[in-house]
């Protein structure tokens, strides 16, 4: 290939890229009319505050958000939320985030958000009260312990039974402790993530059960001398623990969100985002 041809070829490629970019931007600007939102022309997304890694990343831009600002587009849930918004035709500027405490996501009455994305696990009972989207993440539970404590040398689920375990209120992690580990001591169920982490740090509990990505954050940033003892498999016969975005029951937006998630799963976007934000969250030993 001559120099000139190369130049021409690269010019064509560049033009094509610009055209493609322009066309996607054009497509993105068109809001899907059959997907109504609470504020016309705007998509309002809810999540809890503080917004913890690796679900949210990139620090805070405003004092309103602690630890991370969901509007950065960084972190798995923020990235997924913007990917869904893109499929519905909302550019980043047309997306606004609102603070929704966990309890408020399912309180009766009109919702202040179009959808809420906050590591909320699907259960059939919950689905009677709110609408759950399809899964954007299939999650494994994991257990975090302090290094050098007695529990740190345990290698089986049966071995965990005699220890004092804890899980944050409102999580399926607590249901997991009750139904799968069946400990002999009453587990501790503090009201917040901060309290749960503090209990483990103070050795007031021996082990903290959380979802695997959160476990990586706890060990990396919240408790210096802790480690992930292992993760638990989503075994056959057990319903998979999966995160879905939450919408008001009967909200027609559900179909749109589901179509978006299906597309994002099929075209590999979800997988790519998981590799970007949750890559570390795979290599923990499996406890049986």
């Amino acid at each position: 290939m001559s120099k000139r041809n190369l130049l021409l070829a690269s010019l064509v490629a560049a033009l094509a890229a610009i055209a493609a970019l322009a066309s996607t931007q054009h497509a993105a600007a068109r809001i899907v009319a059959s997907c109504p939102t609470i504020k016309n022309g705007q998509l309002t997304i809810g999540t809890d505050n503080p917004a913890y890694p690796p679900w949210y990343a990139g620090g805070t831009k405003s004092s309103k958000w602690k630890i991370n600002d969901p509007s950065t587009g960084k972190g798995y849930e923020s990235a997924v939320a913007y990917a869904i918004a893109g499929k519905l035709g909302y550019t980043k500027a047309k997306v606004s985030w609102t603070y929704v405490p966990f309890n408020k996501a399912f309180a009766p009455g009109t919702k202040s958000f179009d959808f809420d994305i906050n590591q909320i696990s699907y259960t059939p009972a919950r689905a009677k009260v709110v609408a759950f989207s399809k899964s954007y993440y299939d999650v494994n539970q994991a257990i975090v312990v302090n290094k050098g404590t007695k529990i740190a040398s345990v290698h089986s689920i049966a071995g965990l039974r005699s220890f004092k375990l804890g899980a944050q209120l409102g999580t399926t992690s607590y249901q997991f402790i009750k139904s799968r580990i069946k400990p002999s001591q009453t587990p501790s169920v503090p009201s917040s993530n901060a309290a749960a982490v503090l209990l483990l740090k103070n050795k007031q509990i021996d082990g903290l059960v959380v979802d695997l990505p959160t476990a990586f954050y706890v060990t990396a940033a919240q408790i210096p001398n802790s480690k992930i003892l292992g993760q638990f498999e989503n075994t056959a016969g057990q319903t998979t623990d999966r995160f879905g975005v939450v919408l008001q029951k009967g909200n027609p937006l559900l179909g749109c969100v589901n179509r978006a998630i299906t597309t994002l799963r099929a075209n590999g976007t979800l997988k790519k985002l998981q590799q970007t934000w949750l890559a570390k969250a795979t290599g923990a030993p499996i406890l049986k």
Partner: protein, 291 residues
């Protein structure tokens, strides 16, 4: 002046007895009973209709008053309630003792005891000022964080300690009011009989003072029972935390109703008992007897 006061007291007793008797018998009062009954019925019907015809009522009913959910959650919440009973029983005994000690400290006379009096005042001010949940969080997480091996790590232990610290501040004020209400002549009389200051306090002042403040003491006891729910925020599974676990598992708030029913089931009898004590006390005083 004294005669004027007595006359007014008599009038008041008379008025009250008329109010009471009008609810019991007589032609005129039968009409008032009918009116009271009618207005009560109308009031509650209007409220009930207004609530049940609100647009969100079916949703509220299924999320807050679901009978199936109530039956499913009640046994477990009731079991968790035993922890509340344990916490307030232990705490109440310690509070009654510790608060009395504080109150006695505060009523010590003379300049020598100024530091102790000041300490008691600062204590009462501080622990009545800080919200209960903050003390519970600070002690429940803070004390075990010191990492000293002989400091208990149990959140229930620290929950009880927090409640004792806070409620003792309130109860010591109640005791003090009781001690202050005893006429100085009682002390003078006791001392003139040859009792020492300590004996006077123990055998003359406190027996009268404590009897006078039993109703407000029970009032604080009811408050204590409800505040045991705050220990749940540390992770102890008491009735309210258990109901929150159930609520979060199903997104149905009916479990709260289970907890509320349990709390009410013990506070209402206690409240009526307190009312009865107050009424008896008033009757005795109005009758001209001593306390």
């Amino acid at each position: 002046m004294a005669g004027e006061g007595d006359r007014r007291a008599d009038l008041e007793v008379d008025r009250r007895s008329r109010v009471v008797s009008s609810l019991r018998s007589g032609g005129d009062s039968r009409r008032s009973v009918a009116i009271a009954l009618l207005s009560t019925v109308v009031f509650f019907v209007v409220v009930a209709v207004a609530i049940t015809h609100a647009p969100g009522w079916p949703e509220v009913r299924s999320q807050f008053f679901d009978w199936g959910e109530f039956k499913a959650t009640f046994p477990e919440v009731a079991r968790a309630f035993l922890l509340n009973v344990k916490i307030f029983s232990i705490a109440e005994v310690l509070i009654l003792v510790f608060a009395l000690f504080l109150a006695v400290l505060r009523s010590l006379p003379g300049p020598v005891f100024f530091p102790l009096r000041a300490l008691a005042i600062v204590y009462a001010d501080l622990f009545r000022g800080i919200p209960t949940i903050l003390v519970i969080a600070m002690l429940g997480f803070g004390a075990p964080a010191l990492g000293v091996s002989y400091i208990p790590k149990s959140v229930i232990f620290w929950g009880i300690v927090s409640l004792v610290l806070i409620y003792s501040a309130y109860v010591s004020e109640v005791y003090r009011a009781g001690i202050d209400s005893i006429h100085p002549s009682q002390e003078a009389a006791a001392r003139s009989l040859g009792l020492s200051r300590g004996q006077t306090l123990r055998r003359v002042i406190l027996p009268q003072a404590v009897r006078r403040v039993i109703p407000p003491l029970l009032n604080d006891f009811i408050g204590l029972q409800k505040d045991t729910a705050l220990v749940g925020t540390l992770g102890a599974i008491e009735a309210f935390q258990q109901s929150q676990i159930d609520t979060n598992a199903t997104f149905n708030f009916t479990a709260y109703l289970s907890a509320a029913v349990l709390f009410v089931a013990i506070t209402i009898p206690l409240a009526r008992f307190t009312d009865w004590l107050v009424a008896r006390d008033r009757r005795r005083r109005v009758a001209g007897g001593t306390t």
